[in-house]
């Protein structure tokens, strides 16, 4: 006879059903755990044996064998402790098989038998519904998180003794704490920084609004201390709140990373991650031994990834961003598994406009400025859409009593522009930034298309830049409530791209002098 109990392993974001089998028999005394696990298996064995002793189940002089199936699945951590203990209790006949039918267990055991929380409970609970499990026993601290999934009934257990009592029907299971899953209550974003704090900055504010309305990538250019970070941190506040599915995805990544906050609530405000430029590629994209953990890029999923001091980042790291930006996922291979994490982020970068920082007394030569700007690689520049100049604050701006427009007012315009876009594209396209170019062109007036095509012909715009400018123009039109994209919208989109130039355009030097002479 073998005791079988169900639990869940997590590989990346994917939860996989795992069966824990326990066999207790005579023979040389020992406690072994088998099934693709490293040296940490021995630690689990010691924890489980000691914890079992606290509920009066001792195994003197017997051979205990635990197997975790499927054996070729990489496993790590202490999440299987509770299931292993339950399997031994079943094998020893302390509890009946019926008590564990349709029950999964997740939790780490303390030496005194207490049940501790583990990461990755949310994706595990969400995946359980499909496996025929209807009850999930987890640590108290994980109960709210498990309840967010809305899947199986959650049984919080504080101590191994409580689990034993529940399984032997000596005690009714405690109700799980209600997860804060109420959409209406959570739609109001937690108070974040407000755009009203930003004085002046007409161009940057406009670019931020367009970026929020269309999901476009943004590069803020300005001297140190002019408020680039301040603006970037206010972007989540004007983005539409996350939908149920998006919020669950975001919470899932945070759960796997062990970062789900306490108290657990489904965060509706899009996340913002601002990694520092000294951060390793592994920390940004995901990494770690054996199975990769999510990096900052995935933690910013459905939110904003803010890269300050863009030109200080190692070139390789920035180049590596291109593929996940296109695909919306990042695939990280490590020794024991290759995992895929979501990475649908809105990129906001900040940089100084020139080597000296670009303050009021900048004396950089044009050559030096262009050399500095060439650090922005062409392919990345092509993936950015808006590059407003963030101006240093003048004394007048600081003294002016007039506060900027509030985040709520901007968010309302963003929401209505997004609603217009959703009506046009349908559910498949989440925002203008990912709309198929072919569809975008259909709603652009011919004169506007021609204006932009002229810029491509003159060499002022690449083919990719052309399509991206059209999408930004579409967003400008949506913000205005205009059905068709007109010349003004296209021109504005083109102007938003001017800051992305890496060299004085060939067009300007070819056309410039002739025109200039004509003008004089």
């Amino acid at each position: 006879m073998v005791g079988r109990v169900r639990t869940m392993a997590v590989v990346g974001l994917q939860a996989v059903a795992v069966t824990v089998e326990a066999h207790v028999a005579g023979g040389l005394p020992g406690f072994s755990v088998i099934g693709s696990w490293g040296p940490a298996a021995g630690q689990a064995a010691d924890r489980v044996r000691t914890a079992l002793a606290t509920v009066g189940v001792a195994m003197p002089g017997r051979k205990v064998l635990i197997s975790l199936a499927p054996a070729d699945l990489p496993k790590a951590g202490a999440r299987f402790d509770l299931a292993m203990a339950a399997a031994i209790l079943l094998e020893l006949g302390v509890v009946e098989q019926a008590a564990l039918d349709g029950v999964a267990l997740l939790g780490e055991l303390a030496l005194d038998g207490e049940v501790r929380p583990v990461p990755g409970v949310l994706p595990s609970a969400a995946a359980l519904s499909a496996t025929g499990v209807h009850r999930l026993a987890v640590a108290d601290a994980n109960a709210a998180e498990a309840a967010l999934a809305g899947g199986p009934e959650v049984v919080p257990v504080r101590h191994l003794a409580e689990l034993l009592a529940v399984l032997r029907k000596e005690q009714a299971p405690r109700p799980a704490p209600a997860g804060d899953n109420d959409v209406a209550a959570a739609t109001v974003p937690a108070a974040g920084p407000d755009l009203a704090d930003v004085r002046g900055q007409a161009e940057a504010r406009r670019a931020l609004e367009v970026a929020a309305a269309g999901g476009h990538h943004l590069l803020l250019l300005g001297p140190p201390g002019c408020g680039k970070s301040m603006l970037a941190r206010r972007l989540p506040g004007i983005l539409p709140p996350l939908t149920d599915d998006q919020a669950l995805e975001v919470a899932g990544v945070r759960s796997v990373a062990g970062l789900l906050g306490d108290p657990v609530r489904l965060e509706r405000r899009p996340p913002l991650c601002s990694p520092h430029h000294t951060m390793s590629a592994a920390a940004l994209f995901g990494g770690g031994t054996g199975v990769a953990r999510p990096g900052q890029l995935s933690l910013a999923h459905h939110g904003v990834l803010f890269l300050d001091e863009l030109f200080e980042w190692p070139r390789g790291v920035i180049e590596a961003l291109r593929q996940p930006l296109e695909d919306g996922v990042i695939c990280v291979a490590r020794s024991r598994a290759t995992v895929t994490y979501p990475a649908r982020v809105q990129l906001v970068c900040a940089a100084n406009p020139c080597p000296c920082g670009g303050g009021d007394r900048c004396s950089c030569s044009d050559d030096a400025v262009w050399a500095y700007r060439s650090r922005l690689s062409g392919p990345l520049a092509d993936r950015l859409d808006l590059a407003p100049a963030v101006e240093p604050l003048s004394a007048g701006d600081l003294l002016s009593a007039q506060a900027g427009e509030s985040s709520a007012a901007v968010a309302a315009r963003v929401a209505s522009a997004r609603a217009v876009a959703r009506d046009r594209w349908g559910q498949a396209v989440t925002c203008n930034a990912v709309a198929p170019a072919r569809l975008v062109r259909q709603s652009v007036r011919p004169a506007a298309l021609r204006t932009l095509a002229n810029a491509v012909e003159a060499g002022a715009l690449t083919g990719r830049g052309y399509d991206r400018a059209l999408r930004v123009a579409r967003t400008c039109a949506d913000l205005e409530g205009s059905q068709m994209v007109g010349t003004d919208h296209v021109l504005e989109a083109y102007a938003h791209r001017l800051g992305l130039r890496q060299q004085p355009t060939a067009a300007a030097s070819a056309v410039g002098p002739a025109v200039a002479v004509a003008q004089w």
Partner: protein, 381 residues
Amino acid sequence: MTTADWAGELSAGADPDLVERVLRLAAAPWVHPERLRGAVEANLDRPCVRVEDVIAGLEAAGDARSRPLPRRAQVREVALALLRHGARMAIVGQPGYPRRLADAWPELGAPLWLFLRAPEARLPAAAAVAVVGTRHPTVDGAQTAVALGRLLARHGVTVVSGMARGIDQAAHRGALQAGGATVAVLGTGFGVDYPAGDETVREAVAAAGGLVSELPPGCGPKPQHFIWRNRLISGLADVTVVVQGRVRSGALHTARLAAAQGREVMAVPGSVNDPASRAPLDLIRDGATPLTRLSDVLDIVGVVDAQRGGMQDGPATPGNTLTARLSADASDLLTLIGAVPAAPGALARAAQRPVTTILAAVAELETAGLVRATPRGPVLA
């Protein structure tokens, strides 16, 4: 080409021997304006300072040095280089030397020689006003310089400045826009691309008034060159107007030289809070005439303002087919964009228009090739 040939072409009407001797001095790196002043001062106790004595003094100093004056072959090379650049040489007291500078000879800093590239090899004889200021003006400062340049040019007054980015170029461009005369005094020799990439403006100024330099061809920019050339800017003008400048600004130096040369100094009053207006405000405190309206400068040079009654300079009328096709917004914006980059946000404030309008207008002007995008904002192409 014999010495007489090139000397005759380089400085028509002057004695070829004198031309060669002066060019020999000009080609020697150590004969700079401070040495020239020394040579002049050595003669000040005489009843009159003769050009011949100054030249002889410098030649004697050259003979005493370990690295003497250049040989004849080298002088010839310099002469041919000058002619290649289309330049001429003007020697004080000889035909072609600007009259206003001659007034500053000898002790007020006028140079012994001058290289110039100008139509007919002569600088315009009309009244001249120097418009000078910082390399890093505010949008308003640059606009003021453009408007001044335009106003002066329209009234036949030559605009003199130093070709530096900022106020200087804004003034030149204003004059060029109005189709008037403008003269630039360079801090380099001819044939040097400085400020780098601004060849278009330099050529336009050479054709519309003249380029002036006292440095041999190919001589690069050095900080002292710009200090030396200031006395030429003030000396070539009847009035010097300082538009904007910070503490210890070069424009302040030019204004002080102008005052020493007995020329009128005017300053554009700015805000006391604005560091860019420090220099003009200090000058006003020290007795310079404040420019309370642009046309004030016309009164000083004695030109009647044809548009008196209109307080300010009117909008630009570049009057060509290109601008005719522009939208009204873009045409309006074109008058605000100058030689200095201005961020769209600043332009929106200056024009009091929504930033979206400004962005569209900037894009329109850029695609039309009328403005150039820089990382810090658009500038005139």
